[in-house]
Amino acid sequence: MSETNETNGTAGIIDVVSLYPKDMNIYGDSGNVLTIARRLALYGYAPCIHEINQGDPWPAHVDMILGGGGQDTGQKKIIDDLFARADDLRAFAADGVPMLMICGLYQLFGHYFETIDGTRLDGIGIIRAHTVGRDVRMIGNLVEHSARFGDIIGYENHSGQTFLDPGVEPLGRVDHEGTGNNGEDHTEGARVNNVIGTYMHGSLLPKNPAISDFLIRSATERRYGSFEPRQTKEWAAELKRIDAIAAKARAVAANRPR
């Protein structure tokens, strides 16, 4: 199952769950999985990616969980399975498993989603927030500011307005009304311990290595007690090159029209 690639793995295996890649994969969110896998390998860890769809059992180890956005139909397909897993997910979150939930799964990680016609769909309540359906989409390039991660660069595309409960920390702050969680309070996303929810596509992680490395560091510290990369010079150089390209892509993206 977790075979070791000959070019990496001396620092240990990291088991990454890609949650619902079949139905919650829209807008390139699989780029997040690719980014985590590549960076783990370049830090000297052996990434093992587990694609978990409805009905699939959890792998023996879960070190990180990545979930993406989906259409309404995709959300309907996974909702029963998500509730069946809700207790496990809450336990993982409480135990410090880093998670990144984009868009649709971010919404379902909240308390509930109220559709335009007033129907209330329950979420699994890991992030204390709720979402209200709207008939206008918030859509476009977005830069948000975070003390922990610096500027976060991405592309939002959602019609739900998400409101965080008092005391819940947003992932970042946005400059303009009409953008972010709800277009009103200048927040975007949420972070609860090691769980990040956000509307940012792009994909998010390739252009935001600081968040990628936060997820990786949290996963390795939780499993092995510390983050100790075992890199060859080549891997370190390659990571540096990737991050230099990411910095250029960030600079361009930050200056593009909405």
Partner: protein, 533 residues
């Protein structure tokens, strides 16, 4: 989004039947062609590019112009829409009908919105407002198609597929399917649907009011080549990573590299991408196989294709490359056959009542229509065999002795199909990614394309506004990139002049394609593909 709600509240104002009277004609409308033409000329002189601007003027002073002008056509309007392949397919339908002997009005490539059609009409109508054509074949963007059918009811519609494309414009693919269901509903004659796309095939339900529904389809042996958009995430491979699920991808990739022909290679490459291989991947839907297809693409070879029509497998030479283009050819044949069936019926009806008299329209048109009614399937395939690729679909330009192929990429599936159809070995590769409105602002889609097929040859040049996003994407797929330069003009020039004699592939988004063609136009002769330079 902008169209979803309008789409559902459409009404049928200003709609007319081909023989009916114009609705809501304004007193000054007789002058519309003159005013429109004058604006068009002025716009050109003033270097506005003159494509949609005159249409805008004509639309606002005479909203009935479109319906009135297209309403004269004796054979009505064929509307082509869908996410991928509109331009190629529209060109094929128009060329085949023309080759058979009809006079066809069609909109130039890229002006796939209503004003573009109005502008093109202004160019061709007489000052008296007459359009000298038998039939119109129009390519319309999904959202504009809805706008269009509010004004003009097409007699035929050809709906190709619904894929993720510029989602920042339409929202979601299920929403895009809803836009197209409006088009199917508004069609008065025949609705032609892609049997292998579940969202399109399902439109048969809303087309009940139309006279008939036809399908075009793929033989089971080719279906794995068209993975469903819904399979996308599971088809992006994670190179150099131990996967939780066992996979035989390496050996599949090897067989792709060793395959004899480009088509074999493409098919094998696709097999690599399919998560579970054959039958349950691809666009194959639950309904597929139960619906009889009017035209089925059975097999593809080197510049030849086999179609099953009326129970017979017919092989024909083609000038188009790639299984994807040939599936579009099946779509084009299906709609042309629907047009021919109506022509034959009308001619037979007329000859029954009035001897050899023409069905409709002026004499010249009637004579052409009567001639075309004699066309058999062989004539149809012969007409198809001469169609050449459209703008950006394998268009080939000679630059200083190097063959440069321009490949338009707009969405993940289209990009993947192009990569699979044009193996990189023996070629230099350049990728140009812009993010203007027409390209789509969101770069997320690049992460749904698997670029690992370029790992062996690498990419010589990456350019466009979002060159660094593209370079980052390639980096994560471990594809070597020789040079990245956001200055597109300079990058194109360096790329095409390097390694003389080595053929080249340039993958471009829409606005990048326009810029690349313009640059190449300064260096060599570039044919006008209907979009201007």
């Amino acid at each position: 989004m902008m169209t979803a709600h309008n789409a559902t509240s459409q009404t049928s104002t200003a709609v007319r039947t081909p023989s009916g009277q114009a609705a809501s004609r304004r007193p000054w409308s007789f002058a519309t062609p003159l005013i429109g033409k004058a604006v068009r000329k002025a716009a050109r002189l003033a270097h506005f590019g003159g494509s949609a601007f005159p249409g805008k003027i004509a639309e606002s002073i005479d909203p009935g112009f479109l319906a009135r002008t297209l309403g004269q056509l004796p054979l009505g309007v064929v509307l082509v829409s869908g996410t991928n392949g509109k331009t190629t397919t529209t060109r094929m339908v128009a060329s085949v009908l023309e080759n058979l002997g009809l006079k066809v009005f069609t909109n130039p490539t890229g002006s796939n919105f209503t004003r573009g059609v109005v502008s093109a009409l202004l160019d061709q109508v007489t000052l008296g407002g007459r359009l000298d054509a038998d039939i119109a074949v129009l390519e319309l963007d999904e959202a504009y198609a809805v706008h269009f059918v509010r004004q003009v009811k097409p007699r035929y519609c050809l709906l190709l597929n619904v894929m993720r494309d510029q989602l920042d414009r339409f929202g979601e693919i299920d929403n895009t399917a809803r836009l197209l269901s409006n088009v199917a509903e508004a069609t008065t004659g025949t609705v032609v649907l892609n049997r292998e796309d579940p969202r399109i095939a399902a439109l048969t339900d809303v087309a009940a009011a139309a006279q008939s529904v036809r399908y075009f389809g793929l033989d089971a042996s080719l279906r794995s080549f068209f993975p469903s958009d819904d399979d996308m995430a599971t088809t992006v491979s994670l190179p150099g990573v131990a996967q939780g699920v066992a996979s035989s991808k390496a050996s599949d990739a090897e067989s792709a590299a060793n395959a004899a022909s480009p088509v074999d290679a493409a098919l094998a490459a696709e097999a690599v991408h399919s998560p579970s291989g054959g039958a349950d991947s691809g666009l194959e839907s639950a309904v597929s196989g139960e619906l009889p297809a009017d035209v089925t693409l059975m097999a593809v070879g080197d510049h030849q294709a086999t179609f099953r029509i009326d129970g017979a497998d017919l092989t024909t030479p083609v000038r188009l490359e790639g299984v994807y283009n040939l599936y579009n050819a099946a779509a084009a044949l299906a709609v042309v056959r629907a047009v021919l069936a109506d022509i034959r019926r009308d001619v037979a009806d007329m000859s029954g009542t009035r001897g050899a008299a023409a069905p409709t329209g002026p004499d010249a048109s009637a004579a052409r229509v009567t001639d075309v009614s004699q066309s058999d399937t062989d004539a149809l395939l012969e007409a198809l065999s001469t169609v050449t690729p459209a703008f950006g679909r394998g268009e080939s330009i000679d630059v200083n002795g190097s063959k440069v192929e321009l490949l338009l990429v707009k969405n993940p599936m289209g990009f993947r199909l192009s990569l699979a159809s044009f193996p990189p070995e023996g070629h230099d590769t350049m990728i140009c990614i812009n993010d203007e409105y027409a390209d789509g602002r969101d770069m997320s889609w690049l992460w749904d394309v698997d670029f690992t097929s370029l790992r062996g040859t690498g990419v010589a040049m990456v350019s466009g506004v979002r060159a660094w996003d593209m370079a980052l994407r390639l980096e994560y797929d471990q594809v070597p990139v020789a040079e990245t330069d956001t200055e597109l003009d300079k990058a194109v020039e360096r790329f095409v002049t390097a390694n003389p004699g080595v053929p080249k592939h340039i993958y471009c988004t829409y606005t990048a394609m326009l810029a690349v063609r313009a640059r190449l136009g300064h260096m060599t002769e570039v044919a006008d593909a209907g979009v201007g330079r």
